[in-house]
């Protein structure tokens, strides 16, 4: 008991410390400006807040559209139990991305300009619109959970009715902006280092987002299972891991084709800082988890599955940080490392996300899907139908 108590206090203290630092950094950011709070400069206009809070954050939230597509479009109803947590993560993720953006934008009060001042030639414009619309879609997709709590059956019925169009729109919007985050960098062929610049960037960003979306679903199921002493849907998660592995395979093969096409294979062996970080990202995020999760004995084992999924997530983060930061250091002729205030804000946002997720799981029916059958019948009714039909035959 004492042990548990000290553990809780430890985490609370850490979170408290991070929030205090984050609060102070927030003050400096908005009162004294970006110069006083960050290590950004004219040579390095994008740092941690763009690289992690926005570019990486959107990717990590990709589980929402991936799972929604699998269950509602591809009709893999088996995965239904993990849709809700995935949608929740996505919704929280996008909210936090927008929060992070408010720190990073120099003129945050004018963020709404993107709604009325159009520039369809800008990738950023498209991303802004997709993120805006998709966050709305996610809110709608998530709303039944909240409505259930308040027993607003009528509204729920309506939302259930538009589920399919909503999911399809969500998948399309996600496809667009997940890939467009890669297109953002297409404009910088001379600046971004050759290991990361590629005409296929949009495709790489898209595929890796699906892979990490799967991995995130697994990781968060594990974490919440531990925190709330729930059982785990091992068979479902192992299958989601398989989807992730296939995506990594597609990613790897296209990455290879791309390097060959651009005659850039030599870059893989140059004794440079970029080379090492590239290998780190590939070993941790692609080779490692592929080897691990391709084997049934690891995939269907608690620790093996968790380790594999976590590796995909970490590798993904390294990849996005490399693309947005490491890849520009050579061109800028100088390094960039975030200031402690940048780190404090980012960490605060992450911790905030964890807390919000935990609260939602505690107070809303997130992992208790089976108890709400009357509202989302498909899986079992389908089975019943089959039975009846075969009986009738």
């Amino acid at each position: 008991m004492k042990q548990i108590l000290s553990k809780i206090t430890f985490w609370k203290a850490t979170a408290g410390l991070i929030f205090t630092a984050g609060l102070y950094a927030t003050y400096v950011r908005f009162v004294d400006g970006l110069g006083a709070s960050t290590n950004l400069s004219d040579d390095f206009p994008w740092g941690l807040w763009v690289g992690f809070d926005v570019i990486t954050g959107v990717g990590l939230a990709a589980g929402g559209f991936t799972l929604a597509a699998m269950v509602h479009v591809f009709n893999l109803k088996r995965f239904e139990p993990v849709v809700r947590p995935a949608i929740l993560t996505a919704f929280l993720g996008y909210t936090l991305v927008i929060l992070g953006l408010m720190y990073d934008l120099g003129r945050p009060l004018q963020i709404w300009h993107a709604i009325i001042m159009w520039n369809p030639r800008s990738v950023m414009f498209e991303v802004a619109w997709c993120v805006m619309l998709y966050t709305t879609v996610l809110a709608l997709e998530f709303s039944p959970v909240v409505l259930e709590k308040f027993k607003l059956t009528k509204t729920i019925k309506f939302i259930k009715r538009i589920t399919i169009p909503l999911v399809i729109v969500g998948v399309l919007l996600s496809t667009l902006h997940q890939s467009s985050l890669g297109s953002v960098y297409l404009i910088a062929p001379d600046k971004l280092y050759g290991l990361w610049y590629s005409p296929y960037l949009p495709f790489f960003f898209y595929i890796s987002a699906i892979a990490v979306g799967c991995a995130m679903v697994i990781v968060e199921s594990f974490l919440s299972a531990r925190a709330f002493h729930r059982g785990l849907e091992m068979d479902i998660l192992a299958d989601i891991a398989r989807v992730g592995v296939v995506m990594l395979g597609v990613y790897l093969s296209f990455k290879t084709v791309d390097l060959i096409e651009r005659k850039a294979l030599g870059l893989l062996f140059l004794p440079r800082y970029e080379t090492y970080l590239y290998w780190l990202e590939m070993v941790v995020g692609v080779f490692g988890p592929m080897i691990l999760l391709a084997q049934r004995k690891f995939r269907e084992n608690h620790n093996g599955l968790f380790a594999g999924a976590l590796m995909i997530v970490v590798g993904f983060i390294i990849n996005r940080m490399n693309t947005s930061i490491t890849g520009f250091e050579g061109w800028a002729g100088k390094g960039y490392f975030p200031s402690w205030m940048e780190l404090a804000v980012t960490l605060s946002i992450v911790v905030f996300g964890f807390v919000a997720f935990a609260l939602a799981v505690k107070y809303l029916p997130i992992f208790t899907h089976a108890e709400h059958e009357e509202l989302s019948p498909p899986a079992d009714e389908w089975a019943k139908d089959l039975q009846t039909v075969s009986q009738l035959r």
């Binding site: 030639r121 950023m124 414009f125 496809t175």
Partner: protein, 260 residues
């Protein structure tokens, strides 16, 4: 149509007097301290390479990257050539800075509601039929203002007249699709800090390549997803089949009862 304006900078004529920067700062009401690096208060600077001076400033690209990337259209390319920035639109995402191939736009990092700053090609002076302050101030003619077509011709003529003096290249003629600031030099450009391997096509073409596929992705993707849903979602089909079978059963049952 308004003739496209430009400036020809003949590096061989520049004596490094900094008169351009002084005139620019005065014209734009910026702090008058001398600066060597482009900044929010220095729209033009001189870079020295072994006694050779190179003026750096916004190149006022023909198809400017900054204009294409800005999500809210804060940058515009005017008909006469100047590329201008509107702080009232800007949301401060700094994509323009990240994307500009010449690393020109500068940020007011110390301001808590910062603006992007760069050379304005003295657009308001051009409108009045005047030449840019820096060109007017240049004592040697190293910076010459004029119509872009004329200046390109003149640049080639100068190179042809003294081929042993100049390297045979007009920088800015085709870099990223061409710029309004043109350079000629006696020292190879790569030794003067110029990016000499920039692509010949305007960079906005690269992102447009991806953006223009959006309608296709939406159309094909939409049909594909809907189709998959339609095919995989056999539940309704089965229900119908079930209903039909029941109906048939009922009917045959009814038949039997009526028979007996």
């Amino acid at each position: 149509m308004i003739a496209k304006k430009a400036m020809l900078i003949d590096i061989t004529l520049c004596v490094g007097c900094n008169a351009c920067q002084v005139a620019c700062k005065e014209e734009n009401g910026l702090s008058d301290k001398e600066e060597q690096i482009l900044s929010p208060t220095a729209y033009t600077v001189l870079h020295e390479f072994n006694g050779t001076y190179v003026r750096r400033m916004c190149q006022h690209c023909v198809d400017p990257t900054c204009v294409s990337v800005c999500p809210v259209g804060a940058f515009t390319k005017t008909a006469a050539g100047p590329v201008l920035y509107d702080e009232n639109k800007c949301i401060g995402c700094r994509y323009c800075m990240q994307a500009c191939p010449f690393q020109v736009p500068r940020y007011e990092w110390d301001n808590n509601y910062p603006r992007v700053q760069k050379c304005k090609f003295c657009a308001s002076r051009l409108e009045k039929g005047l030449q840019p302050a820096c060109a007017e101030a240049c004592p040697t003619g190293a910076t010459k203002f004029g119509d872009r077509d004329d200046l390109i011709r003149e640049a080639h003529e100068r190179i042809k007249a003294e081929p042993e003096k100049y390297v045979n290249k007009v920088y800015g003629l085709e870099e990223v699709g061409g710029t309004s600031i043109l350079y000629i030099s006696s020292v190879p450009f790569e030794e003067l800090g110029f990016k000499t391997n920039l692509s010949k096509i305007p960079l906005p073409a690269l992102t447009w390549n991806a953006l223009s596929k959006i309608p296709t992705v939406v159309a094909v993707g939409g049909v594909f997803l809907y189709g998959v849903w339609w095919i995989t979602n056999r539940r309704t089909e089965v229900q119908q089949l079930e209903a039909k079978l029941r109906e048939m059963d009922d009917r045959s049952n009814g038949h039997e009862t009526s028979n007996s």
